[in-house]
């Protein structure tokens, strides 16, 4: 089973994202900020990280280069999932090594589409 780490300081967002990802066959863990996510990734790297931008302690954009510096840290697919919806943020995220970008609000179709594009999910019949 593929694994996902949901990183968001909103409990509600984590809950919604977990429901969607579990519905698409992922086993999910959660982190409330970038530091918690980094600690989790140092123990075990997931296949997918759904990453919020604005979080206390360590933001998503601060977390991403630290993840990529870890041994095998280039492996997880990272999808930013944030309310930041302007081109400069998107460019900054992709430049920092994110694989995809979702502008909140999101739904199952949007997440599913990104998972298919990243090769983490077979195209639905």
């Amino acid at each position: 089973m593929k694994t996902a780490l949901i990183v968001d300081d909103s409990r509600v967002v984590r809950k919604v994202a977990r429901k969607i990802l579990e519905g698409n066959g992922f086993a999910c863990d959660e982190a409330e900020d970038g530091q918690q996510a980094l600690t989790a990734c140092q123990k075990k790297l997931p296949d997918l990280i759904l990453l919020d931008w604005n979080m206390p302690v360590m933001t998503g954009i601060e977390f991403l280069p630290k993840l990529r510096e870890l041994p095998e840290g280039g492996t997880p697919c990272v999808i930013f999932c944030t309310t930041e919806n302007d081109m400069s943020h998107i460019q900054q995220a992709i430049g920092a090594g994110a694989n995809e970008y979702i502008m909140k609000p999101f739904d199952n179709d949007i997440i599913q589409g990104k998972l298919v594009q990243l090769g983490l999910l077979d195209e639905q019949a």
């Binding site: 919806n85 992709i94 589409g113 019949a125």
Partner: protein, 285 residues
Amino acid sequence: MKTEDFELLSGILKQRSGLVLTPEKAYLLESRLLPVARKYSLKGLDELAAQIRSRRDEAMLRDMTEAMTTNESSFFRDQKPFDQFKNIIMPHVAEARAAKKQVRVWSAACSSGQEAYSLTMLWHELAAKYPGWKLEIMGTDLSAEMVERSRSGIYTQFEVQRGLPIQLLMKYFTQQGDKWQINTQCRALCQFKEMNLLQDFGPVGVFDIIYCRNVLIYFDPPTKTRVLEAMSKVLAPDGALYLGGAETVLGLTDKFRPVDANRGLYVLSSAPAALYSGAAAVKAA
């Protein structure tokens, strides 16, 4: 809804758009036509039907048809037809049209234009492989509103996240407030116009590829046959027709045959046996 109202409204819709609604789909009429009724200050579908009986208002009938036939779309929907354009269709066309260096595509019932624009983005990605080639896309839809939206190339944040990889959004779109517009290079490859597939297509020319996906499912068999046979007359002898996954030509017309290796892809029955199948399909997989 009263039976006579359902029959009146569904009859008008079938006549104008080919859309076939069975009584079990009455809920669809109610959900889609209620906003139209409200627009004309009518309380419900019974008043809408009464109004139509007393006076046939063309604008109202047009609004009804548009409300019923406007469907959701997404970029790179189903992906495979786009992969096949790149891996199967274009390699053949590149040889067959080497002198002319032109590809003509019809996106039939194009809705808000995502299918056409997906192809333009793919085309630009392939540009280095086909220098000097020209792509021409005709997008048609029954709905004037959809044609106008397609022409504008403007999409909501929600729409650009459906099927569109972020790299392509960054490369081909500009942000305009809370909307996103596809660039002029992509828009320049497309011409959008109103067209009812049930009527004479007019002087549209000949196409190398016709995308008519998830359209026929709304028609009854005689209408499907009529549309398919009309399309067979404007498709190049070695052209490709794409239908939706749940659609087929079987039992409707002998003008087309499916390409076994590639679901959803059809060629004219008179086309060479190996066209878009066999070795080419295996090579592309």
